[in-house]
């Protein structure tokens, strides 16, 4: 499985990517929407792990754009934000169980990745 991590915190995504590699998960990371879109063009990703709040846009919009181009891609949200509003949108986009609040234990993240791949359908 190949994973794209998108978060404006470079320190977070780079480290997370490295750790995932240790655990046999092939992952790339991006710190901006532009970066993320170009990475997605170059490689085929099974899963995108997205931050909800980013400087230019929010994770939901990015998710929709990626989904348009790559309908098979699965999504997990990872956010520090607990507001009701985001929670509802996030849950609707991916399902409640794939809307995670930081900090996330890496084992749980991997578990969720496996889960989301097994999930049927595009959403």
């Amino acid at each position: 499985m190949r994973v794209l991590l998108v978060d404006d915190e470079e320190e977070l995504v780079s480290t997370l990517s490295e750790r995932l590699k240790f655990r046999g998960v092939d992952s790339d990371w991006a710190c901006s929407v532009k970066d993320a879109l170009s990475k997605a063009e170059q490689n085929i990703y099974d899963i995108a792990v997205l931050d909800v709040k980013m400087p230019e846009t929010d994770g939901f919009k990015l998710k929709r754009r990626l989904q348009e181009s790559y309908p098979k891609m699965k999504f997990i949200f990872m956010t520090g934000h607990g507001s009701d509003n985001y929670y509802h949108i996030g849950s609707a986009e991916t399902g409640k169980e794939f809307y995670l609040v930081k900090p996330v234990n890496i084992e749980i993240l991997i578990e969720k990745m496996n889960d989301v791949l097994q999930k049927q359908g595009g959403v």
Binding site: E9, E11, L12, T15, L16, E18, R19, F22, M78, T79, G80, H81, G82, S83, D84, Y87, S91, K96, V101, K102, P103, V104, N105, I106
Partner: protein, 594 residues
């Protein structure tokens, strides 16, 4: 000084708060009640009284004018009769002097015959006499020895000589009996004249009463009392017997009415000051004034009766109106008061949830800001640990691995705190689950057994077997119980006990009671314990959020929390939850605190 002014400011603010609370709580309902009661009754009663007074006056005036006109009628009928009576007798005498010669009249037998005929035909005559121009009574028939009496000095004689005919008022005369005189002067052929004189004794009153029998009867029916009918002369001496105003020849006690050619009715007063209605008529060519006197008070008696009834009706209707208004006003004001109480309660609730919501937003903001760096620490520390993992010498160094675990655990702890803060703000969709209360309580207690053992706190669980599995949100219920049990633990030093009881209660609800034997909460603090940031253990690190969160969680589950506490004895929290979650309550809860 600075400290002082700060403190003062604080106090002023407190006062302000109190005043505010009072002002949006209290209209002066007593005043409103009184005002609306007075105004409404005023508006209702004034017209009633107004119309009653008008009715009263109109009826009284009507009654009075009725009485006056009746008196008027009676008076003029009576005077006509009296005048006719006297006239008739005067004409009879006129006829006698024309029909008989002086000589014939001086014949006592003839005169006696004439008197007898007069009595038979006209009635009322007592005696008859012929008086020559010198005033000497030449012939007399009647029951007194009056023959030869000289009348030349008497007033009536002078009057008849000067006027030709005369009716006297009542006097005693030689016979010393009250009588009136009707006299006719007649000229004889030789230029001399003589006077025919007839008297009527006593009879006048009888005649009056006879004349008036018909009216009297009528009056009796009308007023229930006889009307006093009598004659007076122009100096006010009573001429015929009066029922109430004196005997014949006594001075009348009512003032003599003013001279008039017409029948008149006036109001007057008797010597006792009682109101009278007096009808009178000067009978022309006689000294008499016909007086018809009625007692006004008695006449108005039926009116007074109806006045009494009027006043009674008025009193009854006013009483009914006042009672009605009293009832309505009291009811309305009571409703108003209730509404206001409810309004204040809602206001208070709104204030409270607003407060919760803004604190929620603040907490969420803080949690978010902390979560991001926390995530970085988590990943970095995780990476270091991962790297250590691949090097055998590091992996087997317990100090290094221990340190890494400590860092990761601390991150975990921090994230628990931020998550709690986020939970406070965020209302996760209530995820309905079937819950077995007993297992849930034991789950919660498993977090606390260590602490309980360590502090030798006795935990008693008494959950009734008849509680069915019910629908609720497991996570939230757990949190509620955890918070309250934590509080119970915190209220005790060492020793003591916590009892958790649960039972099914009517309306398919569950009641969970958590009692401790701790320090208790004072009555004044009890009011605030569900307020955010209210804490009595700030020094011990309490945030003052626990119970506030618990409160809003319970609300979300459609439940309520009550507290009872006694200082030094302990506290009991009573959580009452529905066995089925209602949709409405969920959405209420999320709008209330979203």
């Amino acid at each position: 000084m600075k400290w002082f002014s700060k403190k003062k400011d604080h106090r002023i603010q407190d006062d302000e708060n109190n005043r505010l609370r009072k002002s949006h709580e209290l209209f002066n309902f007593r005043r409103i009640w009184l005002l609306s009661f007075l105004l409404t009754s005023g508006f209702a009663i004034v017209p009633v009284i107004f119309f009653a007074v008008i009715d009263y006056n109109v009826t009284e005036r009507l009654m009075l004018s009725e009485t006056v006109s009746r008196t008027m009628r009676l008076t003029s009928n009576t005077w006509r009769s009296v005048a006719f009576y006297l006239n008739e007798r005067q004409s009879a005498l006129q006829f006698i002097v024309k029909e008989n010669s002086y000589e014939a009249l001086n014949e006592p037998r003839r005169l006696a015959e004439i008197l007898e005929n007069l009595r038979q035909c006209f009635g009322g005559f007592t005696d008859l006499g012929v008086i020559d121009s010198d005033g000497l009574q030449r012939t007399y028939v009647g029951s007194y020895p009056l023959r030869g009496k000289n009348y030349s000095g008497q007033k009536w004689f002078e009057n008849v000589v000067s006027r030709g005919s005369f009716i006297s008022d009542v006097f005693l005369g030689f016979r010393n009996v009250p009588h009136i005189v009707i006299a006719i002067k007649h000229r004889t052929g030789d230029g001399k004249f003589y006077v025919l004189r007839a008297t009527i004794e006593h009879n006048l009153s009888r005649i009056l009463s006879e004349i008036n029998t018909t009216f009297q009867d009528k009056m009796k029916v009308d007023s229930g009392r006889e009307t006093d009918v009598f004659l007076i002369n122009q100096t006010g001496i009573i001429q015929t017997e009066s029922l109430y105003f004196g005997k014949v020849l006594e001075k009348n006690r009512i003032p003599v009415p003013e001279v008039s050619d017409e029948t008149k009715v006036v109001e007057s007063k008797d010597q006792h000051g009682a109101d009278l209605i007096v009808g009178y008529r000067y009978i022309p060519e006689t000294p008499f004034i016909l007086m018809i006197v009625k007692d006004k008070e008695r006449l108005m008696k039926p009116w007074q009766q109806s006045r009494l009834e009027l006043i009674q009706y008025l009193a009854i209707s006013i009483t009914i109106i006042i009672l009605w208004i009293l009832g309505i006003t009291t009811y309305m004001i009571r409703r108003l008061k209730e509404m206001d109480k409810r309004r204040v309660k809602y206001l208070h609730m709104a204030e409270y949830s607003n407060k919760l919501a803004s604190i929620g937003r603040l907490a969420a903001g803080v949690a978010h800001e902390i979560n991001n760096p926390l995530a970085i620490i988590n990943e970095k520390a995780g990476l270091v640990k991962d790297i250590f993992h691949f090097k055998k010498e590091y992996r087997e160094d317990p100090r290094l691995m221990g340190t890494m675990d400590a860092i990761l655990n601390s991150v975990e702890r921090c994230s628990r705190i931020t998550r709690q803060l986020l939970n406070f703000a965020r209302h996760m969709n209530v995820s309905v689950q079937q819950i077995n209360l007993k297992s849930l309580v034991h789950e919660v207690l498993s977090f606390l057994t260590k602490e309980a053992e360590y502090r030798s706190i006795d935990v008693v669980v008494d959950i009734k077997e008849d509680i069915p599995d019910f629908e609720s949100d497991r996570g939230k219920l757990q949190q509620i119980l955890l918070n309250i049990i934590n509080n119970a633990f915190a209220s005790m030093k060492t020793g003591g006990s916590v009892t958790i009881r649960a039972m099914a209660v009517p309306d398919s609800r569950v009641q969970i009671e958590i009692s401790d034997t701790g320090c208790g909460i004072s009555q004044e603090n009890l009011r605030f314990i569900f307020e955010p940031f209210f804490s009595t253990k700030t020094e011990a690190g309490g945030t003052g959020l626990g119970l506030s969160i618990t409160y809003s969680l319970a609300k979300e589950l459609g439940g309520r929390i009550e507290v009872e506490s006694k200082i030094g004895k302990g506290t009991t929290f009573m959580i009452n939850l529905p066995m089925k979650l209602e949709k409405k309550e969920q959405s209420d809860a999320s709008t209330a605190s979203g």
